[in-house]
């Protein structure tokens, strides 16, 4: 039988769709929890600059552990579960998400903050109404990188029985499925990454119209 086994693909669309859905779900969970965990840490690092080195040290360490090793370490505690997969995936998003959020929050020009205070904004108002909206482009840029990275990493979780499209690839290697399953898995995960990136970029533009509209300036 040739490599181009389209018949298998045609008769297994349900399986492929299910794996694609799982892949998307694992990614959304990971980025979602990543945001939930990273946001308070980013605010803390922004407010108390002295905490930032410790936060980057821990998240940086998590980021450098090879993903296979991390999953192997977790399995004795949390088993071959979605929880194991998500702990790993979330860990890898933290460094990128925190770093971008802290950079974004710190990017507000000093004069804008001073003027906001002088207008009678409280410290909390300055954070939520001024620094956060202005940081959005950089924060969303971080979410885009984290999302694309996570979509790649999800495939690795096939080794602990999850993996979304990664399960198709692994099945292909193990001759559980015909080899074309590998190609389908790779192609769809690349397509998913590109699509997610586009959607987030579009969302960022929609949220921050001011960041684009910088027309040439006319005289006074």
């Amino acid at each position: 039988m040739s490599f181009w086994n389209w018949e298998w693909v045609g008769t297994h669309l349900d399986l492929i769709g299910e794996k694609l859905g799982e892949h998307l779900w694992l990614t959304l969970l990971a980025v979602g929890f990543g945001l939930v965990v990273s946001f308070p840490l980013a605010i803390l690092a922004h407010r108390r600059a002295r905490t930032y080195p410790a936060i980057t040290w821990v998240t940086g360490l998590l980021y450098t552990i090879p993903s296979l090793a991390l999953f192997a370490l977790l399995v004795p505690f949390t088993g071959l579960s979605t929880l194991t997969a998500e702990i790993g995936l979330v860990s890898y998003t933290l460094l990128i998400l925190i770093r971008n959020a802290v950079t974004g929050l710190g990017g507000t020009p000093e004069d804008v903050k001073e003027a906001a205070r002088a207008m009678g904004y409280s410290e909390r108002g300055v954070l939520w109404r001024v620094e956060l909206p202005l940081a959005l482009p950089v924060i969303v840029a971080g979410i885009r990188i984290a999302t694309v990275t996570t979509i790649g990493l999800v495939t690795v979780t096939a080794l602990i029985g999850k993996g979304g499209l990664g399960a198709l690839m692994l099945g292909g290697f193990r001759r559980l499925y015909p080899q074309i399953a590998i190609l389908v898995g790779v192609a769809l995960s690349v397509a998913l990454a590109v699509a997610a990136d586009r959607v987030l970029l579009w969302a960022q533009r929609a949220l921050t119209p001011w960041a684009r509209r910088t027309r040439s300036v006319t005289a006074t």
Partner: protein, 368 residues
Amino acid sequence: MGDTMISLRHVAKRFPGTRTPAVRDLSLDVDRGETVVLVGPSGCGKTTTMKMINRLIEPTSGTIEVDGTDVMAQDPVRLRRGMGYVIQSIGLMPHRTVAQNIATVPRLEGWDDARIDRRVRELAATLRLDEELLDRYPAELSGGQRQRVGVARALAVDPPVMLMDEPFAAVDPIVRAVLQDQFLDIQRRLRKTIVFVTHDIDEAIKMADRIAILNLGGVLEQHAPPEEILREPANAFVEEFVGAERGLKRLALIKVSEIDVDEGPVVSPEDDAEKARALIRDGGFGWVSVLEDGELLGWVDEAMLEGKARVSDATPRRFSAYVTAEDSLRQALDSIVTSRTNVAVVVTEGQRYRGILTLERVSREIVS
């Protein structure tokens, strides 16, 4: 007027980790409705002093009262909403449109949309901002337009006090002069209590009711109206800071109406040409003004009267330039040195003749 709106008593500020205090011991009063300009060399503590008034910086010692209440006893957020604030870099919010920027404080104060909209349009008109600019973002404006938005934002809830730190320093000199004039015009109507910071003595002279000249460490060297500072600098520091052309700068502050003008040589059209010739010879000018019932027709000289019996037989030449009672002595001086007749002719509305100003007369004001 005359009652104190802002009062600083023995105010000092020492920043942590610095050896010398930014402000050592400053006492200063600003009257209600008055513009006091803090001026002095870079680093002398002008900005620090201004920011202590709205507590962006808290004094190390001393007291600051605004409208009779110690600022340290007030909630800083409430205190600041009652003070307009304009800085050189403006600090407009890049993510908000011009209209939203102007509406910043009204929104914080919970005004309803209709009232905010009305106020924004009113301010746009006051500051001559095109309504089509209201939907733009700050990055889409010119420097001058941004400054106007900054001033509009500061005026939004009509606060009694305005703090302005080199508000017009970032724009080119032509736009700056326009903004200064417009702001003076606005201030004449609104009568805010203003603390205005600049390092430019000419801007200080132009904008101030009183100037406070500061030396390093916030040392108050002189606090007086511009005219007095130019006439009687309190010490060598002030004299040097005020700089060259002190006399000329002072002339710019004195109006023609404030001094006596010379009558000058005058004839009427009915007079004999002979009388006019005598005045021309003896008056020392080489010409004589022709007045008909107080209205200035122009001037005639001996050549124009040649062979004429009466002044009315000659056609008087118009003066190329006049000054009015509202003009400054500096404008009069300019008129003197550029006119062929070497005098400035002073007229009122409708060409009514008041007299003439000569170089000698104006010079007397420089030295007095």
